[in-house]
C-alpha cells in the first residue's frame, strides 16, 4: 500500500545518459515529450542551475492561448546525472503558491549500456487535483501510448 504522497518511477532507456540529458536540457527537445500530444508544450525558461527558473506552458488543441503548466525553480543540477526542481519556489528561489506543490528528483544512471532514469516526485498533499484535471493533464493519454508505440516500433 502506498500511503505517503510520494511517487517513484523508473525506466531503463536504451541510450546513454548524455542522450537523456539532451532530451531534458534542450528546450525544443523537452517540448516534444514533457506533455502528451495533442497538447502543445512551450518551454519559456529552462535555466539549468540551482535557483534557475523552469517555466513550461501548454496549449490544448484548437485553443488560442498557452496556459500555465509548470512554474518552478531548479534546486540541484548535475549534468548527465541529476535534476531536482520544485514548484514551491520560482526563479531565484522566490516563494510561490503553486496549484500543485511538488518537488521532483530525477536521476540518470548508466546501466547496461543505457540509462536508468528515475523520477521521485514528492507532494505536500493533493492541493488541487481538480485543477490538474481541468488543465487537461490526462487528455491524450491514449494518444501518448499510441505515439510511444509508433516511435519504438519505427
Amino acid at each position: 500500500m502506498t500511503n505517503e504522497s510520494e511517487l517513484t518511477i523508473s525506466r531503463l532507456i536504451a541510450a546513454p545518459p548524455a542522450a537523456v540529458w539532451n532530451a531534458w536540457s534542450i528546450p525544443e527537445n523537452l517540448e516534444k515529450w514533457w506533455i502528451p500530444a495533442p497538447i502543445e508544450c512551450r518551454v519559456d525558461m529552462l535555466d539549468l542551475r540551482p535557483g534557475g527558473g523552469f517555466v513550461t506552458r501548454m496549449r490544448e488543441e484548437g485553443a488560442a492561448d498557452f496556459q500555465p503548466h509548470v512554474d518552478g525553480c531548479f534546486l540541484d543540477v548535475v549534468p548527465e546525472k541529476k535534476i531536482v526542481f520544485t514548484t514551491v519556489l520560482t526563479e531565484g528561489w522566490q516563494p510561490a503558491e503553486p496549484w500543485l506543490a511538488l518537488t521532483a528528483i530525477l536521476t540518470f544512471e548508466p546501466q547496461d549500456g543505457g540509462t536508468l532514469y528515475a523520477a521521485r516526485v514528492l507532494h505536500k498533499n493533493p492541493d488541487d487535483s481538480s485543477k490538474h484535471l481541468e488543465l487537461g493533464f490526462h487528455e491524450g493519454w491514449g494518444t501518448a501510448i499510441a505515439q510511444l508505440a509508433e516511435l519504438t516500433e519505427r
Binding site: 518511477i9 542522450a19 532530451a23 527537445n29 515529450w33 514533457w34 498533499n125 501518448a144
Partner: protein, 112 residues
C-alpha cells in the same frame, strides 16, 4: 467535488504520521478495540487518542462505543480516495517517462 479535494488534505495529513499509518495497517485486518490498538505503541493513552482523533477527523476510521469498549473500524473508501489521487499522479509521471524514453531512443537508434 471541491469538498472531496479539501478533505483529501486531511487524509494525507493523517497518513503523514507513522503511528497513524501503523493503526491503519492494523485495521486493514479488521476492526479492533482502542485498548488493543494502543498496545504496540510506547506512548500514553491520551497521546494515542490524539492520533485516533486525527484519523477520525480525516474519515479514515470511525469508532463506536459499546459499554466500556470503543471499537475502531477502517473506512476503506477514504483510503481508496487517497490511492486514486496518487495513481493519477503516477500516470502523469509514468507517461512522461515513457515519452522521454521513446523520444531519446528514436533520436539515438541502438547501433547493431
Amino acid at each position: 467535488m471541491a469538498n472531496q479535494q479539501t478533505s483529501l488534505d486531511t487524509v494525507f495529513h493523517a497518513l503523514a504520521d507513522p503511528t497513524r499509518r501503523a493503526v491503519i495497517g492494523r485495521l486493514l485486518g479488521g476492526a479492533a478495540p482502542v485498548k488493543r490498538l494502543a498496545e504496540p505503541f510506547a506512548m500514553g493513552l491520551p497521546a494515542f487518542m490524539k492520533h485516533l482523533s486525527v484519523l477520525e477527523t480525516s474519515g479514515l476510521i470511525r469508532s463506536e462505543k459499546a459499554g466500556r469498549v470503543r471499537t475502531c473500524h477502517l473506512n476503506a473508501d477514504r483510503l481508496a480516495a487517497a490511492e486514486d489521487w496518487l495513481s493519477e499522479q503516477r500516470a502523469v509521471w509514468q507517461g512522461r517517462t515513457d515519452r522521454l524514453a521513446a523520444f531519446v531512443e528514436s533520436q539515438n537508434p541502438p547501433t547493431k
